[in-house]
């Protein structure tokens, strides 16, 4: 009977290597993770005045996208219906890669993001959310009770 000497060990080793590699390339391991391959894909950037978030969510009616900021956490949620033909039709599906269903993605905002000063625009299938930063340099008045 043939048995490979170390087949199991070798695959386990490859698996471990692969996991370690993907961890090494994963940028900013936040508590909420940074799930790549999620929908919508997100790019985040910042300027000294603002935080810019781009959610790549094509084919969605902008009126149905829910954007919410609560306690420094931005949530983008919505739904995209499938464009594939329904089961009873006489069509055959060759490739089905596009996302369908409901989605929700959450981004932790920096402390100085001002939830009162937000603009959200949807263009060419990209939702662009711009959040102004608070002007921390200004002296703050503290009311005495």
């Amino acid at each position: 009977m043939y048995r490979s000497l170390f087949a199991n060990d070798m695959y386990a080793e490859l698996d471990r290597l692969q996991r370690e590699m993907s961890r090494a390339f994963e940028y900013s391991p936040s508590i909420r993770g940074a799930v790549r391959g999620g929908f919508p894909a997100m790019n985040v950037g910042g300027t000294p005045q603002s935080v810019e978030i781009y959610a790549f969510a094509p084919g969605i009616d902008p009126a149905t996208i829910e954007v919410q900021i609560e306690k420094g956490v931005l949530t983008v949620a919505g739904e995209r219906s499938s464009s594939l033909p329904a089961g009873e039709s006489k069509a055959s599906v060759h490739i089905a890669e596009r996302f369908a269903g409901s989605f929700r993605r959450v981004v932790t905002l920096p402390d100085d993001a001002d939830p009162e000063k937000v603009t959200a625009r949807y263009r060419d299938g990209v939702l662009h959310i711009s959040i102004q930063r608070r002007e921390t340099s200004l002296p703050r008045r503290i009311s005495i009770q």
């Binding site: 940028y27 900013s28 940074a34 790549r36 999620g38 919508p40 894909a41 997100m42 790019n43 985040v44 950037g45 910042g46 300027t47 000294p48 005045q49 603002s50 810019e52 781009y54 790549f56 969510a57 094509p58 084919g59 969605i60 464009s83 594939l84 033909p85 039709s89 006489k90 069509a91 055959s92 599906v93 060759h94 490739i95 089905a96 890669e97 596009r98 996302f99 625009r121 949807y122 263009r123 060419d124 299938g125 990209v126 662009h128 711009s130």
Partner: protein, 128 residues
């Protein structure tokens, strides 16, 4: 973006073939009269979408244009390249002269009808 971009476009296009690009996700389904293809190309304005059918090859290409404020530094990027490209090989029964395309909210819908002779026909069985 500016005049210079337009002048440089031809050069840019010939170079584009060698540039790295993202693969857009697609749905492809077929019914009796043709094939429908949907592709997600978010961030591509209509003018920067290029569709080409050459012989039996369909090429979908698009350049991503985002409104980026000056001096922005990216902190996290899942869409890491500014362009999409995907190439498909068509089959002979498809009528490439009658391809229709619609591009809305970053989703491309292509309809490629089957040539007349390739449409399904009912064949009568003659009894001798």
């Amino acid at each position: 973006m500016n005049d210079q971009t337009d002048v440089a476009r031809n050069k840019e296009e010939s170079r584009a073939a060698a540039q790295a690009a993202l693969t857009p996700p697609v749905d492809v389904f077929e019914d009796a009269t043709g094939i429908t293809l949907l592709a997600d190309l978010p961030g591509v304005p209509k003018d920067d979408l290029h569709l080409q059918v050459e012989a039996e090859t369909l090429t979908i290409e698009g350049e991503v244009r985002l409104e980026v404020p000056e001096g922005m530094e990216a902190t996290h990027a899942e869409v890491s390249l500014p362009r999409y490209r995907r190439v498909f090989t068509l089959s002979r029964e498809l009528d490439t002269d009658k391809v229709s395309a619609e591009f809305r909210n970053g989703v491309l819908t292509l309809r490629i009808p089957k040539a007349e002779h390739a449409q399904p026909r009912r064949i009568d069985v003659e009894v001798a």
